[in-house]
Symmetry: C2
Subunit: 412 residues, 2 copies
């Protein structure tokens, strides 16, 4: 079978063009959902679709859908990602998946290939979480409630409703964005890895076989604040020592209960009262634990709870925790993965089976249809920063792998 | 020899009276150096001295000196402490030593005892450190420079010079407060322990044989911030893990290099960027280490430096530290301690030899004259809090021990 190729210079020009929209003086991008930058990006995307002769529609959640053709009775083969960004972002996180998707639709349409199924590319709304994260894909799954839509606000206290209304949109329309599962045949998202694995191993393509789930706790250890000079070591109830010991248990717990894919991070720490000459009486810290297997996650949660409880008991600390977030892991579709692998081999592209440690819209799309992801390398693993970079050669490999994968799925 | 007794009801009344000056609605005291509360406390103290017929003078550093009589050619026996407080303080830290001292002078004067040496009670300026700590006793030792006096400011950026000028005082006069060593025969400070040892051991009196020295570092460990989901455990340079490991080494280092009196505290921690889903790339923390032996302190500093450097090397972190503070330990005078012990026995008061883990004006007075301290218990070790408390019975024991100690020293 002959392998299709994207028009790579055209894709490059698009990547460079979108990378100028929302750029500010620190060289980072500011296209947070429903900001002026985001709206400018959306407008630009719709213009490109029009130039390419693609159909477009925007659903109630402001997700942009581009189509080679619309055919009510045949389920589409869908790709997509997001063009909204974190503040100070790089130019590839999300945007690459949308632009490669656009290029795939254009290439297939321009080359006049008659696919059995229509192709579709979605730019999802607020993946990055100004108002909670993966808003557009959750809306498509019908997971959002009126309470959520009315209550959501950003870190500055701006309501989702106000932010949308300022851009001429109605937040309650989000509740009308739910999509029928049988309208999709498959979903494949191309995304930068945002981690160092492909770069270290010098592979162009990651075949994402699963997306990690996570639990995130806020842990509080409460002891007693005392004078750092007058309180003998054996009369202390030092909350920070409890945190330190918890941190020291991470590698043991991952080794005993985790998989090679497990990660655990203490990323946020507050220590009270926080004076050099006072034994800390209270610490508050985050514990973020991820794995691709729900049972492993449960074992890890149990192990961390036991370990922290034992540390707290021994050190006479009070131990409390709240579950801040809990996301179930997702397995990708084996059939699609096999297609991606086959296509990568046929294109002679070095690839690696791996998982995604970050969350993506694919996690929700997997509730609706067969889903998989394709990763391209992130230089030095950098993301959420203006230093985000992927070699053009890797982008070209990724685009051609996606193109041929979508084409095969569209011929099923 | 007959034992003298203070007029305890009079002392109680003074303690209760001073405890109302600078009190705010949270039940804590606010007599920070040169605040209105501090000035009101000073005025009250001078009034009590006048009522008691004691001589008083205020030196250039605003230290208040009360005397039974002034005699240029005979060195005085001196006691004292401070009446300034931390914000939200209890009523005993410092104030007790001044008020018991005042009561000792009054008792001896009122009972008409003819001592060979004059007695003196000093209320030192800014012991608690609004402008650096132990300002008055350092000034008496001639340790302050014009640069220091002109540069000193509080946490709100208020200059020492402005704070003094607002109360009608001239900061440069601080440099004229130096005192001749031969004007003092001995110095004894009574203070609350501010720790739990006497309370746990149910002793009324602590004989302080030494005052701990300390070193305080600001340590910085610098690794790399990375996505907590996409960065495998073995590709991380997690600065917080470096802090946790350092904290875990504290007990080993104290056991290997410290004495039973050594303490080490990490009290202040900042963790960057501080998000639950980001591996911390940088931590800044304080390390406060104390002991009563200068050689032990040096060994501990070496051991901590080696340990943190090794942890940083292994975890690929950059390790930097600044010495924020370094105070040499002080040995108390054996002769005075024997007198205190003898007096305690004669009064039938339960006592304990111990050290002071906190810093006190005595540390500087020891540069000028033979010095010792007497501790009374702090309930549950609490201090620097409105919960500060010492049983009246223990205060009475402490006052009588100080009275008889001063009397004996004054007869030498």
């Amino acid at each position: 079978m002959e392998m299709l190729k994207v028009n790579f210079p055209r894709l490059q020009a698009d990547i460079e063009a979108l990378a100028t929209i929302g750029r500010e003086s620190d060289h980072g991008l500011y296209r947070m959902a429903f900001s002026d930058g985001d709206m400018a990006g959306r407008k630009w995307l719709l213009q490109q679709a029009e130039v390419a002769g693609l159909n477009a529609h925007v659903d109630g959640a402001a997700n942009i859908h581009l189509h080679t053709r619309q055919q009510k009775d045949i389920a589409s083969v869908v790709t997509g990602s997001h063009i909204d960004t974190v503040p100070g972002a790089g130019h590839l996180d999300g945007a690459l998946g949308v632009l490669v998707g656009l290029e795939c639709l254009r290439s297939i349409q321009a080359q006049g290939f008659a696919t059995k199924r229509p192709l579709e590319c979605i730019a999802f709304t607020d993946e990055e979480g100004r108002f909670g994260g993966m808003l557009g894909s959750q809306a498509m799954c019908g997971l959002l409630s009126p309470e959520y839509v009315l209550g959501a606000e950003d870190l500055n206290g701006m309501k989702l409703q106000s932010a949308m209304s300022a851009q001429g949109l109605n937040a309650m329309d989000i509740l009308r964005a739910q999509r029928r599962a049988d309208s999709m045949h498959a979903f494949v998202e191309l995304h930068i890895e945002q981690g160092p694995v492909l770069d270290r191993q010098q592979k162009s393509i990651g075949l994402v076989d699963s997306i990690a789930g996570l639990f995130r706790w806020q842990v509080r250890l409460i002891g007693e604040s005392n004078h750092a000079g007058t309180t003998p070591m054996d009369m202390r109830r030092d909350a920070l020592q409890g945190l330190a010991e918890t941190s020291g248990e991470i590698s043991r717990i991952l080794e005993e209960y985790g998989s090679p894919r497990s990660v655990a991070t203490i990323g946020h720490v507050e220590c009270y009262p926080g004076a050099a000459n006072v034994v800390p009486g209270r610490v508050v810290f985050s514990l973020d634990v991820r794995d691709t297997d729900a049972r492993v996650l449960k074992d890890l949660a149990d192990a961390f709870r036991r370990a922290i409880a034992a540390i707290a008991r021994r050190r006479e600390l009070m131990f409390e925790f709240d579950v801040m977030s809990e996301i179930a892991p997702v397995k990708c579709d084996t059939g699609i993965l096999n297609t991606i692998e086959h296509v990568s081999r046929a294109l002679g592209v070095e690839h690696l089976r791996m998982h995604s440690g970050a969350a993506h819209d694919s996690q929700f799309m997997a509730r609706l249809t067969r889903t998989a992801m394709i990763f391209v390398p992130s230089k030095a693993g950098k993301s959420h920063s203006a230093a985000e970079w992927t070699a053009w050669e890797d982008i070209e490999h990724g685009a051609n792998v996606l193109l041929n994968t979508l084409y095969r799925l569209a011929m099923e």
